[in-house]
């Protein structure tokens, strides 16, 4: 019964990841075979040029992207956790206005956001800095994070909170010692998204970080897109190489969720 489910799971993953397989396939294909008709299902005659280029040229960009992603996660959590808590639990004035602002904020086209940041950063001297890019990338996640924390924290049973109040805990302590630990799942979810959005951002990086020596991986890929030629195998190979550390982080995060679940069960 359970083995059957695993089998279905594997098939589902296979279907979902087929485009990823195709990307790996292209990363190993020689330029002269790339547009063959019918296409080659499998790279029988592989080339490793793409991987050589990716590993030889893109490792610094990879590290930069990791750093930016983690920075964006930290900033996103710092801003949105207390805000989500306040909106869900403290009934502040103007909560609806903030709701609307958050929704509208997410609708501003990325390009317009980038133009705005450019104008601000040029005055603050933040163009071409990693810190600047971290702040810009965090705007991709903050409205989402606040809304999500709000939804999740609202579902924490009132009794748990009330008990803390009776114990005389301050709001800050209630937040820190009760709400935060209970919100672990949503924190991980938000972190995941904040990381991934920062990781895959191209528009901010291309507007705000062009002249920099430290560039994220999405910009690094552009060195393979020339005016007149496109080195597809290098592009795809870079994407494969770049997704490995991020995939590792994902698996870690999954473990952590699983561990949280078990710990809870033991406590009871």
């Amino acid at each position: 019964m359970r083995a059957w489910k695993t089998a279905v799971g594997v098939v589902l993953v296979g279907v979902m990841l087929f485009p990823v397989y195709w990307m790996v396939n292209v990363s190993l294909t020689k330029t002269s075979d790339m547009r063959a008709d019918p296409p080659h299902w499998f790279p029988w005659d592989p080339t490793f040029e793409g991987y050589a280029a990716a590993l030889g040229q893109q490792l610094p960009a990879l590290a930069t992207s990791l750093f930016i992603g983690l920075g964006a996660v930290a900033l996103t959590l710092a801003v949105s956790l207390p805000a989500g808590f306040a909106l869900a639990r403290l009934r502040p004035r103007g909560a609806r206005a903030i709701d609307f602002l958050l929704l509208v904020a997410q609708m501003i086209p990325a390009v317009v956001m980038a133009m705005g940041f450019y104008a601000i950063y040029i005055r603050l001297g933040l163009l071409n800095t990693v810190a600047g890019l971290i702040v810009a990338d965090s705007t991709l996640a903050v409205p989402f994070a606040v809304l999500l924390f709000r939804a999740f924290m609202a579902s924490i049973p009132g009794e748990v909170m009330a008990a803390a109040q009776i114990d005389g805990a301050s709001t800050w302590r209630t937040f820190r010692s009760i709400v935060l630990p209970l919100s672990r799942n949503s924190v991980i979810t938000v972190s995941l998204f904040a990381f991934l959005w920062a990781w895959s951002d191209f528009i901010f990086a291309s507007t705000l970080n062009r002249n920099s020596d430290v560039i994220p991986i999405t910009l690094g890929i552009f060195r393979y897109i020339g005016n007149n030629t496109t080195q597809w195998n290098s592009i795809m190979a870079t994407a494969v190489v770049a997704s490995l550390p991020a995939a590792f982080l994902l698996v870690l995060a999954q473990r952590y969720i699983a561990a949280g679940v078990t710990a809870g069960a033991v406590k009871d």
Binding site: Q57, I120, L127, S206, I225
Partner: protein, 422 residues
């Protein structure tokens, strides 16, 4: 709707606070240590170009660097992809921190010049007379020259010799559209794929269509002329009858070339820049000029980048900029650029002779460049971009079957007239 009022108040307040904070930040914040975006430091000049594939260690980067050295400064080079470059230039122009030099794709020169962002070459005493008139035309607007071509490229038909031999086609027989059509039919009968080109809905699509458009005798000032319809009908019939693959509608020039490299296609319309790649293909290749409808060689559009100099507040910088430009455009410099880019045809007669002495095989391409035509010439200037957009839209409509060639072009003409305000 009483809720939004609360929101409106909040947003008005927000805007005011931001304006304040931006002002204070402006007054108090020191320039960030690593903020090298502005062209401030004394001995360093900023340079933007659309060649991200050439990184800091490339021959091109070294060449740019050495021209800076000769002028006694260091050059900070930044590469953007072509489309991002124009936008970034406008943004920088608005914020007043444009770089000292920008290498621009030629249709963009008119746009930026019209925006008042570029310095005319005459203003800092650069002689432009030695450049080929048909090439430098794209850098001219209202009688002033705003950029000089560092080289030029254009289009022709590459062919796969193996396929043509097997199909019994002699490339020398291709003199006009009829003989080209006969050759394509022969190839098809022999079981190979006849031709591929790029009809993508971007400037590239117009670029590739223009040799056929001009070759039929059509003019960009009249998109729905009978000649224009003939040219578009030619392409449409090719796609309908399977002479060209359906994917040309979304093909960029790069994709087209990747298709040609599989060895499945007899012909591919592509440019000077593929000379090296063609030589390294798994099969023997050759080149013929794109024929005009009734014979002769069709005018092909010129491609290639122009060196331009954005307006600087500090006009003292122009003296050094001039030295950098001169270094890039000596005959030797042009030849060097030409070979670095595999291949750019030099934009002056001297340069062309020198590169031919080195590489006699380039003769057909030098001829093609000499007979090529600027896209913004015919005094179109900034009218060209909207006309071109209308043209590629018509090509897309006709090829995908959304409209007949005649209807598509009629709509295109209306669109162009509206956009150019005529």
């Amino acid at each position: 709707m009483n809720r939004p009022s609360e929101f409106t108040r909040a947003s008005v307040f927000a805007t005011a606070v931001l304006a304040l904070s931006a002002l204070t930040a402006c007054a108090s914040a020191p320039q960030g240590a690593s903020g090298s975006g502005t062209a401030s430091a004394g001995g360093s000049y900023t340079w933007w170009d659309p060649y991200p594939q050439h990184d800091a260690s490339s021959a091109w980067a070294k060449r740019v660097g050495s021209c800076g050295q000769q002028a006694g400064v260091t050059i900070e080079r930044t590469a953007y992809d072509t489309t991002a470059l124009t936008n970034q230039a406008l943004l920088a122009g608005q914020e007043g921190n444009a770089p000292d030099v920008i290498l621009l794709d030629n249709p963009a020169v008119s746009t930026l010049a019209d925006a008042g962002m570029l310095t005319p070459m005459a203003d800092f005493g650069l002689d432009t007379a030695r450049f080929d008139a048909n090439l430098i035309a794209a850098g001219e607007l209202d009688g002033k020259t705003y950029g000089i071509p560092i080289g030029a490229n254009t289009l022709a038909l590459y062919y796969n010799k193996k396929i043509l031999d097997e199909a019994g086609v002699d490339p020398a027989s291709i003199k006009d559209w009829a003989s080209l059509g006969a050759a394509l039919e022969k190839v098809k009968a022999a079981g190979a794929k006849p031709i591929t080109f790029a009809a993508i809905g971007t400037e590239e699509g117009s670029f590739q269509f223009l040799p056929w458009f001009w070759g039929a005798g059509a003019q960009l000032t009249r998109l729905d002329s009978p000649q224009a319809v003939e040219a578009l009908t030619l392409w449409t019939e090719w796609v309908k009858s399977g002479i060209a693959p359906n994917s040309v509608i979304s093909n960029s020039q790069n994709t087209t070339w990747e298709e040609f490299l599989t060895g499945e296609f007899a012909f591919a319309e592509n440019g000077t820049w593929q000379i090296n790649s063609a030589a390294q293909a798994d099969f023997p290749t050759g080149v013929v000029q794109i024929p005009g409808k009734d014979g002769g060689v069709a005018a092909t559009p010129t491609g290639g980048e122009f060196i331009t100099v954005p307006v600087q507040k500090d006009t003292a910088r122009y003296a050094v900029t001039k030295k950098i430009l001169e270094c890039m455009t000596t005959p030797e410099g042009l030849v060097e650029t030409g070979t670095t880019f595999a291949y750019y045809i030099p934009s002056t007669a001297d340069g062309q002779e020198q590169i031919l002495a080195k590489e006699p095989g380039l003769q057909p391409w030098v001829d093609a460049v000499r007979s090529a035509k600027g896209r913004t010439s015919d005094n179109l200037g900034t009218d060209y971009p909207p006309i071109s957009e209308a043209l590629w839209t018509a090509v897309q409509k006709a090829l995908s079957g959304a409209a007949s060639p005649a209807d598509a072009l009629e709509q295109a003409q209306a669109q162009a007239e509206q956009a150019t305000g005529e």
